[in-house]
């Protein structure tokens, strides 16, 4: 049973515009959320994270928003660049529970930024 869901397998955005990637989760015990970026045949690289005590975290062009009541988070990329084209994975963890911080991943969203 998937606890982290990314319902859009792909997203296509023009360079310079905003990219919005969405993620939903079902486990209310999750208290830390992360976004990873992955190129083909490479391992995921950490992009940005947010704790459940916040509703927004910003790092340069990347902003993550968390809506706990809706169990929803989103990643905004502004402005989008062709180099942002990759698969983006949403992940969540429960640091207070028995799983001690292991990550649960969504299926990823393929972002394509075209010139």
């Amino acid at each position: 049973d998937q606890q982290v869901k990314q319902n859009s397998p792909s997203l296509s955005v023009q360079e310079g515009r905003i990219s919005i990637l969405n993620c939903d989760y079902t486990n209310s015990m999750f208290d830390y959320f992360l976004w990873y970026k992955k190129y083909p045949a490479e391992g995921p690289t950490f992009l940005i994270s947010i704790s459940s005590i916040k509703d927004k975290n910003e790092d340069g062009r990347f902003t993550v928003f968390l809506n706990k009541s809706a169990k929803h988070l989103s990643l905004h990329i502004v402005p989008s660049q062709p180099g942002d084209s990759a698969v983006y994975f949403c992940a969540a963890s429960d640091w207070r529970g028995s799983t001690l911080g292991r990550l649960y991943f969504g299926r990823g969203t393929q972002l394509t930024v075209w010139p």
């Binding site: 830390y32 391992g43 690289t45 292991r102």
Partner: protein, 114 residues
Amino acid sequence: EADIYQTPRYLVIGTGKKITLECSQTMGHDKMYWYQQDPGMELHLIHYSYGVNSTEKGDLSSESTVSRIRTEHFPLTLESARPSHTSQYLCASSESFGVGTEAFFGQGTRLTVV
């Protein structure tokens, strides 16, 4: 930049062969993980370790085994490879304590069993 390394990057091997995928990290992390990922799918946790001599199976049933004799080393072994084992295998590590630490991933091993 993360200091976690996987070898080999790519491996094509015949059915029935024994293989070991290597994973090493130089960050001193106690926690290490093996994930399996197929295109368009989520990363599935197959093994994890909280420290030396600690290994646990993850959510996805796997015929592979792991060992953790040294903190920095977490190899994965398949005794008899089958075509169903074809996948990408990703090793990761993270710090032991505190909320808000991310896992660092190696570059992965793309395994093809023919």
